[in-house]
Amino acid sequence: MTRDDVRRSFIELLRPELKGVDLSSITDATSLLTDLNINSLRLVDIALEAEDRFGIRVDNEAVDRFFTVGGAVDMILERKLAAA
């Protein structure tokens, strides 16, 4: 999976949270909490859903890397590479 593939798939995972959001406006710097208005506890659900979707393990302490789209995508890629 390329980084673009992971990014596309991650944004697809976020889609239920993105009602009214212009997907083309999402950048790596987009904050899930402040820009996409995702509840901070919901962020944990998203990290767990990412585990299932990408076949990775997200450490409890690594949830904070899901604060931005780019942070989440990079972490998912790191975990996938480490597992390969």
Partner: protein, 330 residues
């Protein structure tokens, strides 16, 4: 074999609702709180005036703002458990207490509860924070029956609001006060049978959730929420795979009452339907170790024949489970 003979709970009368928390001007409004954690009310042993005036900045002074002692809370819960068990306090031969917020570092909370009940018995604390109830039951379940008195009282008294910094919106919205009590026996059978128990810990995570002596509650919120969802899911799933011990009867799941979003996430992951999930966090907040057993107590009379799956998690990090039946053993 371990049997449950009676269970009780108590919550103080004073209510902290979301409008009160919003009035403290800590950057929350009622909708924000409900959307974020799914809690609308909590009970407190402090007066609202004390919280408003001091924000509970000095937890060592919180006793002066208290309207009820923790010991009275524990005694109230114990008396309900005794009544349901059809026992007198004098029938109890051991008291085990323990939770997150003991009023004193020494003596054991169990000694003070036993004294409040007017009984002279073995009294000790077994403490694994919010996982204390399952831990205590697990320890009893591992002990030789002949080493135990006929009836053991397990009690958790939580005065969590005395440890909360009411200038910190992250913790102010979560916690409430309450007490739970349960009477167990390894020697005298009852219709309510403990089928299995478990307890585990990950001490490397000891610093994730803390209340320093004389200090305020603190936690690494996201990491702890993830731990709670993961462990509760694992424990529920393991118990569910054991099957519905009630056969055609009801099967229910009770988790640590951390916040409603955590519990909803677990239920969604495992496909647990709403009518099989029991909770009181919406109206009582997170009451620590007293939370899950108080849910069982509040639903006890309406449960009928049931298979009960309880999973609790907490600081330590620690987690445990109790799987039992109600009204199914004669």
């Amino acid at each position: 074999m371990l049997y449950l003979h009676g269970i009780g709970h108590f919550h103080p009368e004073t209510i902290i609702d979301n409008a009160f928390l919003a009035s403290l001007e800590i950057g929350v409004d009622p909708n924000w709180i409900e959307e974020r954690v799914g809690i609308t009310e909590r009970r407190t042993s402090l007066s609202l005036d004390y919280i408003r005036r001091t924000r509970n900045q000095d937890t060592r002074a919180s006793a002066e703002g208290s309207t009820i002692s923790t010991i009275d809370m524990g005694r109230e819960a114990a008396q309900i458990a005794l009544r349901r068990a059809g026992l007198a306090a004098s029938d109890v031969g051991m008291v085990i207490a323990g939770g997150c917020t003991p009023e004193m570092l020494i003596p054991a909370e169990a000694s003070r509860v036993a004294a409040a009940l007017g009984i002279e018995v073995q009294a000790l604390d077994v403490q694994a924070a919010c996982a204390s109830f399952a831990t205590q039951v697990h320890f009893l379940n591992q002990m030789r029956p002949e080493a135990l008195p006929d009836f053991v009282l397990i009690v958790s008294v939580e005065a969590f609001t005395r440890t909360i910094n009411y200038g910190d919106r992250g913790s102010a919205v979560l916690f409430g006060d309450g007490a739970s009590a349960a009477i167990f026996s390894s020697n005298i059978a009852s219709p309510n049978q403990v089928l299995s128990t478990s307890f585990m810990a990950d001490p490397a995570g000891y610093d994730k959730v803390t209340i320093p002596a004389g200090g305020h509650f603190e936690q690494e919120g996201h990491a702890v929420q993830m731990f709670a969802i993961r462990k509760t899911s694992e424990l529920f799933e393991r118990m569910r795979q054991s099957g519905n011990a009630a056969g055609e009867g009801k099967q229910v799941f009770i988790g640590h009452q951390a916040n409603l979003r955590m519990l909803q996430s677990v239920c969604k992951r495992l496909g647990i339907p709403e009518n099989e999930h029991l909770s009181n966090v919406r109206k009582f907040g997170n009451c620590g170790a007293a939370g899950a057993p108080s849910v069982l107590s509040q639903n006890w009379d309406a449960l009928g024949n049931a298979s009960i799956n309880m999973a609790v998690v907490g600081s330590g990090l620690a987690w445990g489970s109790v799987r039992m039946t109600k009204n199914l053993v004669s």
